[in-house]
């Protein structure tokens, strides 16, 4: 792997990690809100 390819691989991995992290955080908040909505509905 050339240094350019290595740098590109690292950039992609970092971007993917950020997207996965953001998605997980989003679902944590969403499940909290779903719980509140469902408790409120009962």
């Amino acid at each position: 792997m050339t240094p350019e390819e290595e740098a590109e691989t690292k950039r992609r991995q970092k971007a993917r990690n950020l997207v996965v992290g953001g998605t997980l955080l989003f679902f944590v908040v969403l499940f909290y809100m779903i719980t509140i909505a469902r408790i409120g509905g009962q």
């Binding site: 590109e8 993917r16 909505a37 469902r38």
Partner: protein, 332 residues
């Protein structure tokens, strides 16, 4: 003698074939796919129609749903659609490579490993059904599961490569979002969500065959039995007209059975007449080489506006009724 034997072994090992077999880095290590490629797998443009019709089903349904739960229902529908689209990308990788329109997708262009697309599709599909079940209800989740299996397995893997009626059958998978959106609110399957399903089901053949008429050569190249390729242009044109005629009463039915007011009814009548007017020149003409398939392109474009306008009218009807501006239908 011994050195001769050793030399022979060495010569054997130095052939290009052995070199390929013995070198651990014979194939370049693939770069991880960009996250945008995963997003592309979900077919974002198709997704807009899925989300729109899903929201319409949700808003047009009688009753109410908590905004967070409504958002979750639409998110689950979108995730399910994205998951099945990713599986479609994975299964049709070879076909996509042969068509100009699809050759630059993440898999045929080599930007992503096939197993990554497959795993992503399965993960999204399973997660979407789980989310729908836990947050909304298991009837809506079961419908979503059926929709995913219908699109990814029954349509993509089984029927699309086998029958020229693939688009008619495939229309069923696109017809699920408003159906699921409706039952996410009501929790039961009644006539209205079935009618919403039927509208998209009947709308798909004229919409897609209009596209297939002017994209015929692409499908022929990869051996997909699209109607214009297998049955010929004349038969496709007749069937476009037949389905457009059949679509009209289905589109007007929600008003005819009293489930909506005159607002939706009049919009449905006008749009259906326009659809017929655009389908007529496509369905009746025999020669299409002198105008670069302009009527087919116009029909394709109009069919998209038609569906957006029809479902928007359905929602407007419900909102007007909820605000007491018009009388409700008997299913309201």
């Amino acid at each position: 003698m011994q050195w001769r034997a050793l030399l022979q072994i060495r010569q054997t090992l130095e052939t290009p074939e052995m070199d390929t077999l013995l070198t651990p880095t014979a194939k370049p290590h693939p770069m991880p796919a960009d996250w945008r490629d995963f997003f592309t797998l979900t077919k974002p443009r198709v997704m807009t129609l899925v989300i729109f019709t899903g929201i319409c089903g949700l808003l047009a349904a009688p009753g109410s749903i908590h905004p967070v739960l409504g958002f979750t229902a639409i998110l689950a529908i979108a995730m399910g659609a994205g998951g099945s689209a990713a599986l479609n990308h994975w299964w049709e990788m070879d076909l996509d490579a042969g068509m100009k329109r699809t050759a630059n997708r993440p898999l045929p262009s080599g930007r992503m490993l096939p197993k990554d697309a497959r795993d992503f599709g399965i993960f999204l599909s399973v997660t979407s059904v789980g989310l729908m079940g836990v947050a909304i209800g298991w009837l809506a989740a079961a419908s979503l599961a059926v929709a995913i299996v219908y699109y990814a397995v029954i349509y993509t893997m089984w029927l699309k490569p086998r029958t020229p009626q693939n688009i008619v059958i495939g229309g069923g998978s696109g017809a699920f979002p408003p159906f699921i959106g409706w039952i996410a609110v009501t929790g039961e399957i009644t006539l209205m969500p079935v009618l919403l399903f039927a509208i998209i089901f009947m709308w798909t053949p004229p919409h897609f065959w209009a596209l297939a008429l002017f994209m015929k050569s692409d499908y022929a190249k990869v051996g997909i039995p699209m109607m214009p390729v297998v049955a010929g242009e004349k038969s496709t044109r007749t069937q476009i007209l037949v389905y457009t005629v059949l679509l009209a009463p289905v589109a007007i039915a929600p008003w005819a059975i009293g489930a909506t007011s005159w607002v939706y009814g009049s919009v449905a009548v006008v749009l259906s007449l326009l659809f017929l007017a655009f389908a007529m020149p496509v369905g009746t003409r025999t020669r299409a080489d002198e105008d670069a398939m302009q009527p087919e392109k116009t029909l394709f474009k109009f069919s998209i506006y038609y569906l957006f306008a029809l479902f928007a009218a359905l929602v407007a009807d419900r909102l007007l009724e909820n605000n007491g501006l018009i009388g409700g239908g008997m299913f309201a």
